[in-house]
């Protein structure tokens, strides 16, 4: 069972990771919601080491407000960014 469902408020982990991973720094620690539950994939951190990536982790598409990402964002209010993040990088948001 996926840990999160569509619409859940989530926070992307703000943790240092020296190894290969697929979470860019500018979204770490940011809060958004699950736009859709994708399918499980191998963990990039393990695949990068030549391992099989197991246990597979659910991938989610997370929608974030652009204004939450960039100081003094000058685009339209309501602009969003969608990014695919693995379950092991997500926590329930404090306001969830």
């Amino acid at each position: 069972m996926p840990r999160f469902s569509c619409g859940d408020r989530v926070q992307i982990a703000r943790r240092d990771c020296a190894e290969h991973h697929r979470v860019p720094d500018y979204v770490k620690g940011k809060t958004g919601h699950i736009e859709r539950v994708c399918v499980p994939f191998g963990q990039p951190e393990k695949l990068a080491l030549g391992l099989d990536g197991k246990p597979f982790q659910m991938l989610y598409r997370v929608r974030l407000e652009q204004a939450d990402l960039w100081e003094s964002y000058a685009g339209s209010p309501g602009d969003t960014l969608e990014i695919e993040i693995f379950e092991h990088w997500l926590e329930p948001a404090a306001d969830a």
């Binding site: 240092d16 190894e19 720094d25 500018y26 191998g42 990039p44 990068a48 030549g50």
Partner: protein
């Protein structure tokens, strides 16, 4: 965001100039690198694109900034072919010297 935390490949949000949106034709050598990467996958030298990426991220900030997109791919698979003992570093260096001499590079 703290810029000092950034690894060289993690560029999102850093100051940058305008984006060049021109389409570029690939040079023949770039297509050959692409084919080499495909060959590495089909021969089991690479199993997942994460392995290509980790080789690129390991190049270090100087090389990362200096090299172009397909040059980083080439550096990543060259290091991988050496670590997997498909090639030796010496064979690679000797071949590079032959090609440099043929091209008249110093």
């Amino acid at each position: 965001m703290s810029p000092d935390r950034h690894k060289p490949h993690d560029l999102g949000g850093l100051p940058a100039g305008p984006i060049d949106r021109e389409e570029h034709d690939l040079a023949h050598w770039e297509q050959r690198i692409d084919a080499m990467v495909s060959l590495c996958f089909s021969k089991g030298v690479l199993h997942d694109v994460a392995e290509l990426r980790v080789g690129i991220e390991a190049l270090g900030p100087d090389a990362y900034d200096k090299l172009g997109y397909y040059e980083r791919w080439a550096a990543s698979i060259a290091n991988r072919l050496v670590s997997k003992e498909v090639l030796t570093r010496r064979e690679l260096d000797e071949r590079i010297e032959v090609i440099r001499a043929r091209r008249g590079d110093s």
